[in-house]
Amino acid sequence: MGSVKAELLRLWKWPATWVLIGVWLVMTLTFGYLFNYLALNGGTNTRSMSQQQLISAMQPENVGAAVVRGLPMFGGAIVLVLAALAVGSGYGWGTWKTTLTAGPRRVSAMAGTLGALGIVVVLLVALTFVVNLSAAVTVASLEGWDWSLPGLGVFKALGASLLIAAMWTGFGVFLGVVTKGPALAVGLGLMWAIVTENLLRGVGSLLGPVESLTEVLPGGSAGNLAGAVGGSSAPGVLTNLSGTTAALFLAGYVVFFVGAATLLKVRRDLV
């Protein structure tokens, strides 16, 4: 518990935590509500989205889908950056050395970091939900729509959001430990989340096996889970796997990333 408390204290007071959460909230509001609202009120080009679809996307009862649809790619990238910075920076600052000589076992120290990051991620998803719900209610009230609060199905979407965010967090932690620094971890992570998987999907249209593979890669699994719980019309959201299959792959990635990072942390010399 001491390790979690210590990590929470330092993450709580870390400006990067709040900057990244803030950037994510602004992004989700801008792309989820502001642009849709502007498109609905005088936009000239709504592409494939009809007015009805725009209204549906902004309805308070669909806020669960609004939360989950941003996480497979951009939200995930932000969570990954936070985790990679939180773990990788400790090597440059020398704080891992201080942590590992403070008393707790290495596994406990790592569990403290993971636990604290987990709490931050739960907070991020909860804040995303609250902010999106507030925006949805505001838009619905301004437009004079009949609206209702989300039903119990929202918990499915929030659960999926947490699993997706946990996978990206684990990925960031893994990269932070492997590269022993923040810069390379963040660079590689962003490259993977935003560029590599999309390139592979492009290649997949030419090569069948690659296309199948992209469905179960970290971003692909996240996109498929988001699609399975109602997320749509956002980059990275897919609908080719069942929710259960996608969730199982994501859980596997969480176990692999966290397990491999912890094993490396426990066994590797800190020089």
Binding site: G2, K13, T98
Partner: protein, 294 residues
């Protein structure tokens, strides 16, 4: 030099070795630190001091050999909770204040946060405790590192190059701090390549060179016995008259402690005595001799 009773060992290593590939960074080092002493761990840069210390703290696994710290295996919680350390400069979160950094450290050590203020007072950092760590001077950073090491009243304090990068005033402050801790009976393992610092504050020293422990004894023993330097004319006549003397350039070194008797002997033999003074090797001279450093 403090009490003369021999205290039990609280750090022992037995042929402790760390290899990276074919290179032995630490080569069969067997050292011992007694309870209540300030042990100086001397060696040139790259000699293997920090790697040895990292092995004592469980940060680096030995390739072979063994070590016990306060009767425990290094790196276990039972050992680490009894040890406070500062290795190769302090590692703190730059965006947190000194006080918050200590609170984080206290939480990890399971130490009540009320001890944080006492540690800050001990290193005279209370006034700057609210400032961000990144704004600290190097001396303040080192002192915060010592404060962190003191949290939880450790039985053993391991300080690796605590004066590195400090200006003369900062070095003097750090020496005073270590002296004050030693006066309170704190066992300190102090690694340094600054010989004056070690000579001034350490009871015993271990000298490491190229990964090997080349000497371990008290500072006095290491410096060896005092000899008399005699400058006389004619030197050869004086050399013949004084049994056991040796010629070093234009002076004699004599293992005689009664300077008066020596002078009388020379004067009676019509030898012109120009200078007689005690001569003792400095730790620096001994160190250069042992390590081949210059």
């Amino acid at each position: 030099m403090r009490g003369t009773t021999v205290e039990p060992m609280i750090v022992t290593t037995e042929k402790l070795t760390k290899r990276y590939g074919d290179r032995a960074v630490v080569d069969e080092v067997s050292l011992s630190v007694r309870r209540g002493e300030v042990y100086g761990f001397l060696g040139p840069n790259g000699a293997g001091k920090t790697t040895t210390i990292r092995m004592l703290l469980g940060l680096v696994r030995p390739t072979s050999g063994s070590a016990r710290v306060l009767g425990e295996k290094p790196g276990t919680p039972r050992a680490l909770l009894k040890v406070g350390s500062l290795i190769e400069g302090p590692g703190f979160f730059p965006y947190l204040s000194g006080r918050d950094n200590l609170r984080v450290h206290a939480a990890r050590r399971g130490v009540d946060r009320t001890h944080v203020e006492a540690a800050l007072e001990q290193v005279d950092l209370v006034g700057a405790a609210a400032e961000k760590f990144r704004r600290y001077s190097l001396g303040m950073k080192q002192r915060l590192g010592v404060a962190a090491a003191l949290l939880g009243r450790p039985e053993l304090l391991i300080l690796d190059e605590p004066t590195n990068g400090l200006d003369p005033a900062g070095m003097a402050d750090m020496r005073d701090l270590v002296r004050a801790l030693a006066a309170q009976g704190q066992t300190v393992l102090l690694s340094s390549h600054l010989l004056g610092e070690v000579e001034e504050i350490c009871d015993r020293v271990g000298v490491i060179s190229n990964g090997k422990l080349v000497a371990e004894s008290t500072v006095d023993q290491l410096r060896g016995e005092t000899v008399l330097l005699v400058k006389a004319d004619p030197l050869e006549k004086a050399h013949v008259l004084i049994e056991g003397s040796s010629v070093h350039g234009d002076v004699l070194h004599v293992r005689e402690t009664d300077a008066g008797a020596l002078v009388r002997t020379l004067v009676h033999a019509d030898v012109d005595v120009q200078e007689v003074r005690p001569l003792r090797r400095t730790l620096e001279e001994v160190f250069f001799e042992m390590t081949g450093a210059a």
